[in-house]
Amino acid sequence: MQRRNNGVAAGGRRQEAPPPRRLNDRDAKVKKDPTMKLFKIRGGVHPHDHKHLAAEQAIEDLPMPALLHIPLQQHIGAPAAPAVRRGQQVAKGDLLAHSQGAISAPVHAPTSGRVMGVGSYPAHHASGLSVRTVTLKPDGEDRWSDAIEGVADPFVLTPEEIAARVAAAGIVGMGGATFPSAVKLNLRNRYRLHTLVINGAECEPYLTCDDRLMREEADAVVDGIRILARGLGVERIIIAIENNKSEAQAAMAIAAAVDPRIRIARLPTRYPMGSERHLVQALTGQETPARGLTADIGVVVHNGATAFAVHEALRHGRPLVSRVVTVSGGAVARPRNLRVPLGARVQDLLDYCGGFTEEPAQLISGGPMMGQPLPETRVPMVKGSNGVLALTAREVARRESMPCIRCASCVQACPCGLVPLEMAAHTRAGDLEGAVGLGLMDCIGCGSCAYVCPAHIPLVQFFKYAKGEMAARGRSKQKLLETKRLAEQRTARIEAIQRAKREAMAKRKREQAATQAAAKAAAPIAPADVPAAALAGED
């Protein structure tokens, strides 16, 4: 889980973090690396991880589907602008759409083939709304573009060159947040960075894609990590992996031996250990300031799969066109870890995994704790999709919610120090400002509270609603202010015009008065003067 994206909008506000607490004895028991001191995070839960379903399935390539639907927005930020036309032949890795603006990412062809069209297609999103999508018909050759060219030694490149190549490869945060990675690399210009953390916690149940990638491609992942470190200009590198992935820990430790700067952190298995801020706290003991970035405390977090993508981009020149996805859940016949071309439909993945053994009660993109429900199986896989889960009714165990009995289980479970039951009560009563006052905006939506709730209250749903509603209110308030400002400007403008008119009139009046006065002044004199003039004339 790496949902907390590193939005660069917020300015770093440094503040006093409390003294870090060491892990207690219970946690220290599982701490094996004597060099890596870990710190305690608050709250959290221990859901059954269900990782055994897919953990031992080696990564397989999904057979190329008949059609690929490649959305132009697979990242946070502005959608990419199409660079291809209908009927155009493309090779694997060719640019399909340009990056647009500061926070955006380009999209490339996942295979060679013909562009069938640029239209709209249902997005990989709970809403099921359509987004701009390139439809590509694979030609079956899977031929890389001739323009693809890697760098023999990425370590001679400057950080700027590395960031530029990462940006050009369309790499985004692959833990699910999909924040453009190059933007994160460029944080070095504005923050004093010292540590790169590789998030291999994979704390979401069921998901094993990062686990498998770290086991099978450890050398490539470590290479990508070292390139990222070069791009960030940091000298401390920590690869953090939960203890339920001991094989990945071992594989990464062996691969990391090439670089003495790299340390492996063996994390206690606890959800949400993979939340960026909590991971950084567990590793450094420091809290990221609210509304700030981990960069505020000198740390940048990247996902292991992102590091792999960086390796592919720099060493081989290959843009991000595929990713590893876990297909799992009790309703899936053969859970697998698949390397999937972007744009393959969820249905293609499920078909390859043998379909359903029973009607799933819930189809999810991502993990069960924070994943989104998928409205249908024809939506395409995107850069941020790390899992497709088909859960049975028994796994979902959805129940009617009951009144809150204030048991405070949620208070103990919250990793952010919030009081979810009070926030929910305020939200239910429509007092959203009250909920904000209790820390609504600090909620990371991890779902620990709803997971432990004995009354089965959909707390996360309440908070999502409240956050959305607050954002909407913020927008409408902004609109109101803007309207007011425009109205005031108009009034001011009209007043200015009227004032100008009045002044002009007044000026004219004054001038008229002056001429009249001059005329008047001249008039009485004139008769007297005339004779004089006459006299003078007569002179």
Binding site: P205, T377, E395, A408, C416, V452, C453
Partner: protein, 358 residues
Amino acid sequence: MCRNNAAGTGMSTTLVSSPHGSRPNRVDRVMQEVLLALVPGVLAMIWFFGWGVLVNIALAVAVAVAAEAAVMRVRRRPIRPAIGDYSAVVTAVLFAISVPPTLPWWMTLLGMVFAIVLVKQLYGGIGYNPFNPAMAGYVFLLVSYPVAMTTWLAPGMLAEHSLSLMESLRLIFAGALPSGIEWDAISAATPLDAMRGKLDQGLAIQEIRLSPLWGDFGGRGWEWIANWFLLGGVYLLWRRIITWHIPVSMLSALAVAAGVFWLIDPTTHPFPAFHLFSGAAILGAFFIATDPVSACTTRKGQLLFGASIGILVFVIRTWGGYPDAVAFAVLLMNIAAPTIDHYTQPRVFGHTRDGVNR
């Protein structure tokens, strides 16, 4: 829920927010665990005080469930979930083991109706009642019928006569003592009452403790009931139905307060274990003060809440006018709980303690 459509290209699923899945615990299971944890203590009570305890429990449960159902019917709400959460049963059992085992039936009925209808349902039912219903019902009866509510049976081994089931039923439902038996033969002052009475007479603790009423820490019989409730409390901790914060802070505050005064003057202040094991301190700490609805929700708040109850129990027992103080202490702190919660909000991640930047 979901079905593949004919084209096989799409499916419709219920769209609900994450998390998809939850820990298998439910309110009804929590309540069942509480009831299970009460069993050893209740059996001990039956052992020492006879069938009346069981009759009271049966009567109170029946009245509570009926009252709950009736209110739900009047409110036009579904009856089954309200009964099915077992919260009324827990209230009834806690009430029934707090009142004397010989309490006339109509008082139990009155107390239970007061607890369920006025204290619980008029505030909105489960989750909304600011006061602990069982304790409110108990206090309502105590202030209304102080004599009946303070007439306790003597523990089995001290009583001249132990009431049989039929005799208990006759006493509770008809108010008739068995022929030839006087109240004195079956009743005895509770240890807390006896201690208070003797201290008022100017006796020293050392003299008072010579009475056969006393066991190792507290009153004979009573201390064992407390031990068995303690066992139930430990079970609740083990099952994570409750956390340690309220019971530990309450009992330690009571012990410390009692200990300080005992150290100052051991002739007029009983030693701390007496306070812990004589009255309802153990029962109160694990089963009553921990009632989630009316207690504090923040950890610091829970510590403060529990400690305040412990100190109030000592104060009321030592200088107050009522025999046991747990019910009053809990109700007083119920009033304070929302305020304590307000001032003990945990520090939010990424914020400083004084909450700037929020």
